[in-house]
Subunit: 412 residues, 2 copies
Amino acid sequence: MVSLADLQRRIARGELAAEAAVARSVQAIAAQDKAIGAFVCHDPEARAAGQGPLRGIAVGIKDIIDTADFPTEMGSPIYRGHRPRADAPVVAMLRRAGATIIGKTTTTAFAATDPTATLNPHNRAHTPGGSSSGSAASVGAGMIPLALGTQTGGSVIRPASYCGAAAIKPSYRLLPTVGVKCFSWTLDTVGLFAAGIEDLACGLSAITGRPELLLPALPAAPRIGVVTQDFAGEVEAASIEALQLAARKAELAGAGVRALPLPQVFADAWRIHTTVQQFEAHQALAWEYRERYDEMPPILRGRLDETRDIAPAEYDEALAIAAQARAALGAVFEQVDVLLTYSAPGAPPKGLDSTGDPRLNRLWTLLGTPCVNIPTLVADGNLPVGVQLIAPYGSDGKALAAARFVEQALKR
Amino acid sequence: MVSLADLQRRIARGELAAEAAVARSVQAIAAQDKAIGAFVCHDPEARAAGQGPLRGIAVGIKDIIDTADFPTEMGSPIYRGHRPRADAPVVAMLRRAGATIIGKTTTTAFAATDPTATLNPHNRAHTPGGSSSGSAASVGAGMIPLALGTQTGGSVIRPASYCGAAAIKPSYRLLPTVGVKCFSWTLDTVGLFAAGIEDLACGLSAITGRPELLLPALPAAPRIGVVTQDFAGEVEAASIEALQLAARKAELAGAGVRALPLPQVFADAWRIHTTVQQFEAHQALAWEYRERYDEMPPILRGRLDETRDIAPAEYDEALAIAAQARAALGAVFEQVDVLLTYSAPGAPPKGLDSTGDPRLNRLWTLLGTPCVNIPTLVADGNLPVGVQLIAPYGSDGKALAAARFVEQALKR
């Protein structure tokens, strides 16, 4: 993979021209993407564009995020050739920070679960995950140093785990979702993929203009609560091994590590994530469902068919449970600084029939907490497996610093 | 004005064809809009479209809300001829309820404060208010029975007061803002304009599929707290008179009425509304401000120039104050059922240099509570003045029932 922070340092020291850094991504896409299919479109003439901390950084944008100079097709023929007038704010913020938008990355249609044709860069017989398939695969393949994705269930953390990339789903609304095709406004969150934790911190800090998100020189040893999310079902041996490995290495490096059972309200919140998501999806996609039903992707359309009768009262109750769970998180984070849990139920599944299961990510998306995927091990078949680190809402800097601690501990 | 509920009843009884109801709006626009300028565009061939409770109801849509079959120009040359691919969800929900979208109503550019050319239907030397200028004017003039607007500061309740229309700014997110040009995601709220409170209830219930929003046959007498919002500055005699009149009439009709001072946290929340709004506007309008600066409307551009240095920490603190104020509202609503306050600082200002001042609406937009404008009196110069009724977050049915009580009390 290509380290954003490393590129930044080399550009700042004059060892690497910003133009050369962008050209390197252009070449990598030309060399690799025919086999992987991470990009819907890209600019082979891309140049270093602006001034700012991200000058020379080529960024891929998930194709449900509006761009003025590339089509934005939502992964669906319904939006074929669609050309927004404006960049989404998060894209404009990237440009303001000096980044070069190099292209649009594949997305499952409307960021749901109908798979794309994108292949996992580490083993092309396996899925890269979804819905941010192209963003995870392009960063995991080392084509680009930074990509934007979105998560409504588990669409950032899961594909990052599958593609061996670091990723952050920041606190809800740290990055604006304006100009991003909506699936569920209570859940949709824009996130970043990069090579490592420091790269995420540099990227997120530059986009938001928040220096407090940069890593401290020496991240302090965090108190870690290990959470197994038993309410979310069984996980495979590879994920169990990854979580145990990360916990053990962190403890060896000086972290306080303890198993932490979660109160019942979190199991309830996990359960109603789907109610919130589907009730809002019926509104968010009302035009497509009503006017372009035949062109809707089949898995998504089927899910919408099944969930069309969720009553407003059921949705209201789900939101009330979500609020209770968010409030209950305060007591959890009195005991520990961060949580460590699975990023996905296992290694990336074989084949392209499924993008994998977001059941280990749903709760945290609903709670709005920052979540970081830390690449942890490589299972049989060259298949990456990550772990997920979670911090309190609004503590994105803390999440990144603790994730950096675990990342470094894993390297010892 | 044209009563939506009355049209519904006559259509249901077979006294009026749905086609004739829509045709009446087409004719009214042809007859009146040349003088008022409430519509950016409309369909002179509009027909009763679907099935559902709003069949035969012609609806005007504020021109920052996406429509697939009309341009959506945001009140700005930057979006001239812009044609979204999809209807905004709230428009799709209107169509699903059977409504006919008859046209797009004028909006100040990007729903900010640069005035439109729209005139107040009751006195053409005065502003209709903004930013939902055309929606308020078209309903106030009796051209259409229902219109959609949006409020970020006071852009629904204030123009409703100025145009003598009833209006509701519902609880934050009761109506989706997806496909609505964003100014501030924490604040932007879609609202309705109609002739009276019952019409609002019928419209909102039909769009959302929530029967609990329909009015009870006999609204109970509410306990009303009268709030003067002294932190928001002086108000004119006409507004003072309107608030006193509404309070007195409600009390005569059996309501419990008492003056209610608000704790300091609400003054703080009122003060930081602008911080939240402007910090988010800089992100929401990042593309326009960066790429189309010269074409930005001058008042908005100047406001953005002045507020470009709001630090993320200042914004975070503002959001924390907003959360404290929302929590403090619980204690307020233990004492009373609803609040009654000013809708605007006075009668609609003369001339078209200003759309009036949203300072009496800001706090409630920030708190996310349902707010209802009740037309109350007509001041010298045939200038309408309303009062604003406020209920707890999520209690939109309660807000409408209490507003109906006050509306009926005013007629006695």
